[in-house]
C-alpha cells in the first residue's frame, strides 16, 4: 500500500500558515506580549503557537504512516477554472448590485448565469425564472418581512 502524503501536505500547509501568522502578530499588532501575558498580542500569539504545534503533529502523523479515514477526491477537470469563473460572477453581481440596485441587476444577472454559464436551453425558463426569482425575493423581504434590499447608487428604483 502506497504511503499517503495527505498528512505531509496538511502539516506543511498548517505550519507555513502559522509561521506567517506569527510574523504578522509582531508586525500588525502594536505593543508587546506584556509582563502578565495580557495584551492584544497575547491570544493571537498563543493561537499561532498552537497552530504550529498542530502542524508538527500532522507531520509526525505522516512520519508514523497515518492515513486519512476518507480519501480526498482528486481535482476534477477544469475545476479550478470553474471556481474562478464563479468567484468572478459573485464579484460582478455585487458590483452591479451596488450600482443599479436589486430590482434592475438581479434579473439580468440571473438571465446571463442560467443562459450562458449554466447553458439552460429552455427559453421560457430563461425569461420566467429571473423575473419570478426577483419578484419572490422582493415580495418576501420588502413586503412581508419589511426588510431592505440594495437600492443602487446610479439608478434608484426601490
Amino acid at each position: 500500500m502506497e504511503k499517503s502524503k495527505f498528512y505531509l501536505y496538511l502539516g506543511l500547509g498548517v505550519l507555513a500558515f502559522s509561521i506567517i501568522w506569527l510574523i504578522l502578530v509582531f508586525f500588525q499588532i502594536e505593543g508587546d506580549l506584556g509582563e502578565y501575558a495580557n495584551t492584544p498580542r497575547t491570544i493571537p500569539f498563543f493561537l499561532g503557537i498552537c497552530m504550529s504545534i498542530l502542524g508538527l503533529v500532522f507531520l509526525y502523523q505522516y512520519k508514523l504512516g497515518f492515513r486519512p479515514k476518507q480519501s480526498v477526491e482528486p481535482l476534477k477537470k477544469n475545476e479550478i477554472r470553474n471556481i474562478i469563473i464563479c468567484v468572478i460572477l459573485f464579484l460582478i453581481y455585487a458590483y452591479v448590485l451596488e450600482l443599479f440596485g436589486f430590482i434592475l441587476s438581479t434579473p439580468i444577472v440571473i438571465y446571463f448565469i442560467t443562459r450562458f454559464l449554466l447553458k439552460e436551453k429552455n427559453w421560457k425558463l430563461n425569461f420566467a425564472f429571473p423575473i419570478l426569482m426577483t419578484a419572490l425575493i422582493y415580495f418576501i423581504f420588502i413586503i412581508l418581512l419589511k426588510s431592505s434590499l440594495p437600492r443602487g447608487t446610479l439608478i434608484q428604483i426601490i
Binding site: G31, P44, P68, L118, E120
Partner: protein, 508 residues
C-alpha cells in the same frame, strides 16, 4: 407570570406569525432537499433579520431550525435519501414503508412524532435552562473561560470525529475573530491599514460564506462540467396521520427517545444524527416481540418513530447550553447565537435577568413554530414535494442571489462580499480535503468570549495563571477538557492499530 404576559404581547403580532411561517417553510424545503442544509437556510435568513424586531428575527431563525429538522424526513421516506444527517436513521424503515405503498402513514407518523418529541423536549428545556442558568450565574471570568474552552474542545473533537483536524478549523475561527479592533485596548490587529478592516470579520458574512457558497460552487462546477446533479420526480403524496391507538402503543418509546434526544442535544458537538441512530438502535433492541423485531429495517413504524422523535428532541436539548451558558451545540445553534447577538441578546445566565420577556417569547416562538410546521407538513406535503423536482442549478442560482444580497446588505459594504467569497473558498477547500467547517464557526462565535474572559481573569489575578485552577468548577472543566482530548487520542491510536493489523493481514 408577568414576563409571560409581556412575552405574549411581544409575540402576538402578524409580523412574528409571518416570520414563523416563512421560516418553517424555508426550513422544511432546505431540510427536504438532499444537498441543501437547514444551516444554510439559517445563514441565508440571518442578514434579513437585521431590520426586524428582535423577537420577529429570532422567531424566523427558530422556525427555520425546527422546519429543517422535521423536513429531513420527507426525502428520507419518499426517495430513501436523508435531507439532513439527522434523518439518516429514518431511511431504512421509512423508505421500506414507502416502497410497500405506506408512504402516507410513514410521513404522517414522522410529522406527528416530530411535533410531540419537539414539544416535550421544549418543556424539558425550560426546566433545565432555568436550573443551569441559576447555577451558572455564580461563575466568574475564569470559570466562564474554562467552560467555553471545554465547549470548544468538545465541539472540535466530536464535530467530525477527528480532534486535530477539528482543532485546526477551530483555531482558524479563533484567529479570524482576532482581526479588527481589539475591544479592550482599542488596538488595531491585522488590519493592514485598511479602515474597513477595523470592524473585523463579520460573523454573519462568514457564516453565509462557509455554509452557502461551497454548495453553489459545487453545483455550478458540476453543471459547467456537464455532470448534472439529480433532481427527484415524486408522485403525488398525502400525509395520513396515525391512529390514536397506534400513538398510544408507541408512547412509552417516544418518551424514552425524547429523554435520549434532549440529553444528547444538550452535549455540545453531538447532535441529531447520534441521537437518531441511538434511538433507532434502542427501539430495535427494546422490542420484545421477536416477529416485530425482525421487521425493523424492512418497514417498521417503530423505526420511523424512534429516530424522528429523538432528532426533534435534540432541538430542545441543543437550546439548553445555548441559552443558559451561551455555548452552541451545533452549526445551527451557532447561527441562532449569531442572530441573538445581532439583536443585543447575549445568551448566558444574565439573559434571564436582563431579557426575561424575550426568553419567554423564544419559548413561545418554538411552540408556535412546531404547530406551524405540523400544519404545513400535514396540509401542503403534495406541494412541498414538488420543490424536489426543481433542478439543483436553478436552486443554486437563487442561493447565489441571496448570499450576495445578504452579505452586501448587512453593512452596505463591498468588502463584506469579498470576505464572504474568501470564507466560501475556505469552506469549499475544507470540504474538499475533508476538514470540518463547523469548528470555524464556533471559533468565530466563541472567540470574543474566550479572549475577553481570559484577559479579565488575568487582570483580576495580576497575571497569575493559577486563577484558572482556583475553584472546583475550573478544575472540573479542566479535567473534562483533558478527558475529551485523551479519549479522542485513544480512539485514534486504536484506529491506527486496526489499520496496521489490516495491512499486515492483507500483506500475509
Amino acid at each position: 407570570m408577568e414576563n409571560l404576559i409581556t412575552a405574549l404581547g411581544l409575540i402576538n403580532n402578524y409580523e412574528v406569525f409571518i416570520a414563523i411561517c416563512i421560516g418553517s417553510f424555508a426550513g422544511i424545503i432546505f431540510g427536504a432537499i438532499p444537498g441543501l442544509t437547514y444551516s444554510m437556510a439559517l445563514a441565508l435568513m440571518l442578514p434579513f433579520t437585521f431590520t426586524m424586531q428582535p423577537v420577529t428575527g429570532i422567531s424566523l431563525l427558530l422556525a427555520t431550525y425546527i422546519g429543517g429538522m422535521t423536513g429531513g424526513s420527507i426525502s428520507a421516506i419518499l426517495i430513501g435519501i436523508p435531507g439532513t444527517p439527522s434523518a439518516a436513521a429514518t431511511v431504512s424503515d421509512g423508505y421500506s414503508l414507502s416502497k410497500k405503498g405506506d408512504a402516507s402513514i410513514a410521513l404522517g407518523t414522522a410529522v406527528i412524532v416530530s411535533t410531540i418529541g419537539g414539544l416535550i423536549s421544549l418543556s424539558l428545556m425550560i426546566v433545565m435552562v432555568d436550573f443551569i442558568s441559576k447555577f451558572a450565574i455564580k461563575f466568574g471570568p475564569a470559570e466562564i473561560f474554562m467552560l467555553v474552552l471545554f465547549g470548544f474542545s468538545t465541539i472540535c473533537g466530536l464535530a467530525e470525529k477527528s480532534l486535530f483536524r477539528g482543532l485546526v478549523a477551530g483555531l482558524l475561527g479563533l484567529m479570524l475573530m482576532t482581526i479588527g479592533t481589539d475591544e479592550i485596548e482599542g488596538v488595531q490587529r491585522f488590519t493592514f491599514g485598511n479602515v474597513q478592516m477595523l470592524q473585523g470579520v463579520n460573523l454573519l458574512v462568514a457564516m453565509i460564506g462557509l455554509f452557502a457558497v461551497p454548495h453553489i460552487l459545487e453545483v455550478f462546477n458540476s453543471r459547467i462540467c456537464d455532470e448534472d446533479q439529480k433532481n427527484y420526480d415524486i408522485d403525488v403524496v398525502k400525509t395520513k396521520l396515525p391512529s390514536f391507538a397506534l400513538l398510544k402503543k408507541y408512547f412509552n418509546l417516544m418518551l424514552r427517545c425524547v429523554g435520549l434526544g434532549t440529553s444528547i442535544g444538550a452535549i455540545p458537538g453531538s447532535g441529531g444524527p447520534i441521537a437518531a441512530f441511538l434511538a433507532y438502535s434502542h427501539a430495535k433492541n427494546s422490542e420484545k416481540d421477536l416477529k416485530e423485531k425482525e421487521l425493523y429495517g424492512k418497514g417498521h413504524l417503530g423505526g420511523v418513530i424512534a429516530p424522528e422523535t429523538a432528532n426533534n428532541a435534540v432541538t430542545g436539548g441543543a437550546m439548553v447550553p445555548l441559552l443558559s451558558l451561551g455555548i452552541p451545540g451545533d452549526p445551527a445553534t451557532a447561527i441562532i447565537l449569531g442572530g441573538l447577538l445581532i439583536h443585543g441578546l447575549v445568551p448566558g445566565p444574565m439573559l434571564f435577568i436582563e431579557n426575561a420577556p424575550q426568553v419567554y417569547s423564544i419559548y413561545l416562538a418554538i411552540l408556535l413554530a412546531y404547530i406551524v410546521v405540523f400544519l404545513f407538513q400535514v396540509n401542503f406535503i403534495k406541494h412541498i414535494v414538488k420543490i424536489l423536482r426543481v433542478k439543483p442549478h436553478h436552486l443554486a442560482v437563487g442561493i447565489l442571489i441571496m448570499v450576495v444580497v445578504g452579505s452586501y446588505a448587512i453593512r452596505n459594504s463591498f468588502l463584506d462580499v469579498n470576505v464572504m467569497i474568501i470564507m466560501g473558498l475556505i469552506g469549499y477547500f475544507f470540504n474538499r480535503i475533508r476538514l470540518p467547517v463547523t469548528p470555524i464557526v464556533l471559533g468565530l462565535v466563541l472567540g470574543r468570549t474566550i479572549e475577553q474572559e481570559y484577559r479579565t481573569a488575568m487582570s483580576l489575578s495580576a497575571g497569575d495563571p493559577s486563577i484558572f485552577f482556583g475553584s472546583i468548577v475550573c478544575v472540573l472543566f479542566f479535567m473534562l477538557i483533558i478527558l475529551t482530548i485523551a479519549l479522542q487520542v485513544r480512539k485514534r491510536v486504536i484506529d491506527v492499530r486496526n489499520q496496521k493489523k489490516l495491512k499486515e493481514v492483507n500483506q500475509a
